[in-house]
Symmetry: C2
Subunit: 335 residues, 2 copies
Amino acid sequence: MDQVAEAAGVSRATVSRVINGAPSVDSKIREMVQRAIADTGYVPNVAARSLVTRRSNSVALVISEPDRPDNHSFLNRIFTDPYFGRITAGATSALRPHDIHLVVIPTDSTDHHQVVRYLRQGHVDGVLLISSHEQDTLPRQVHDLGIPAVVSARPTSPIAVSYVDVDQRLGARLAAEHLLNRGCRALATISGPLDIPSGLDRLDGFRSFLAGRGFPTVPSVEGDFTRAGGEAAARRLLTDFPDIDGLFVANDLMAEGALRLFQDLGRRVPDDIAVVGFDDSSAALDCRPLLTTVRQPVEEMAAEMAEVLMAHIATPGRLPRSVTFQPSLVIRDSA
Amino acid sequence: MDQVAEAAGVSRATVSRVINGAPSVDSKIREMVQRAIADTGYVPNVAARSLVTRRSNSVALVISEPDRPDNHSFLNRIFTDPYFGRITAGATSALRPHDIHLVVIPTDSTDHHQVVRYLRQGHVDGVLLISSHEQDTLPRQVHDLGIPAVVSARPTSPIAVSYVDVDQRLGARLAAEHLLNRGCRALATISGPLDIPSGLDRLDGFRSFLAGRGFPTVPSVEGDFTRAGGEAAARRLLTDFPDIDGLFVANDLMAEGALRLFQDLGRRVPDDIAVVGFDDSSAALDCRPLLTTVRQPVEEMAAEMAEVLMAHIATPGRLPRSVTFQPSLVIRDSA
DNA sequence: CGGTCGCCTGAGAGCGCTCTCAACGGCGCT
DNA sequence: AGCGCCGTTGAGAGCGCTCTCAGGCGACCG
């Protein structure tokens, strides 16, 4: 930097001003400095800058999920799940124009030690926190740290934190309505894990809407949001209720598994049994028949999380706010 | 830090020594300092540390792929592809014990401006570079920057850089041998993009092995490593060569697409046509029938990349080295 | 008992940047 | 013509840490 200053015949302060685009620099001088920068091949040292600005220009994407005994499969599941992929994609694209980079940190939702230490050390300016499990204490811990954060779903305990969510119950209702409109009368559902709010809300939304339409009891089986889990759940469901003609599955991956089973069993979809998924992830297009599903704009939601986070970082005292997206029904071939 | 020093009755230098685990500290003093750290809730400032150590304790995972016109789908494809997911998982798990974090940076392989600037600024200590396209200049640019790097495949131009790869030709040969052993005699292949070495090597390995076994010409269609691409390629192949009974597909995703087509067409797998994939990704288990495939230990390869990178970072002058993994055949139901 | 060696510790100089504050010069006003 | 103000620049003080180097003290040896 001293070199640049000397080459341009100005002080370090002025070089700094040019680099940071301060308006109060004479245009001739600005030009000279820029030429000097180009000539010397000068590149600012980010550590030194961070030290004084207290900004790192990066944010963490923390994915907090219950660990499996075997850590290997845990990471594999996380990074292979299209849901998290879409989140990463959405966040990346929103952050890019701000020149902010993303540090991806998967963590066991029962042991936040490492992550908390990382965050406290000031590596990042803020956190995008993907945490869905009810008993997960990370949202609260992050909140207590006082570091800017946005959570991916309405926190279960009332924390003053910004979050972005989709109207889960409305989504379930859209599915129920569609199945009803098709003429299905023996409805059932494969729910998500019931210890996570989105799992619960989709189940409850589905049931309570149907209750209002004269279906007081609707069979359900709990799934785990994986393809294999969906297949197993569908099998159980069919054993107990062989006559169902309409099925709402709480995410696309499980729906894909269910479709596979129906195919193996020779049940025609949607003629024998209509299936509606949830997410509208790429999995919905990998099914046969193509999956009718409730669209959740995950990329846009992640981008919104990023924008809200940027706002929090820019104006520290800012009050938390929540943004709720509307789901929509995407009708394809399975229902 | 001054607070801690005062509380423990020592100098800042000693506090620093304790934090960094220097051996030459009296155990009583060490204890006092640790207590002081706990009491004051002191957390080191990473920016200040980076400024003097010139280490950031993070590395970049740069994924360089040709962009699509629409950037949105580009990011989506990257982060939804299980291959990249496995890489991320493998790298993360290898880096975690070193307390190194991963900054994920997708980039258009034709415009490296942003990435290069990022790397030059010293944000990261090294780069894991996922780049497969032949004409991609990023490996060379990174090499010229002089920053520690490991590439995911043998670079096409001879650059003195470390890389990790799998024996592509051997993998293709395993597939060919297996199809032959099953009794298939009308063989064909869906290749990967032919402007990327792995695509070329798998095709060439397949063909040249078969040539040696009395099959001088083997039909092939070029695919794009996506499910939809695989389905389209299979359709084209079947149009021109309706009688093939053994098919090698250059990755699992395309194989899944092909299987889907065969199912729609009523071709039985493996009885009418045997199919062997490549990768052994999660997609292989999402197919019906379960996919026989050439296993590429992607997670282990990514972990090895990380280890090699750590070594380069630790000892700057270290000579580049390459590690080649052996593929293996995983026999399931499709062949 | 004195000298010397070696182990620990403390003092202090940076690392490379930003940012405040003061100085300077030119301009417009009275 | 003098005064004051604004716009622009430079000087210099940190930001919080590491690390070298010198000094002190105890131990061991002669």
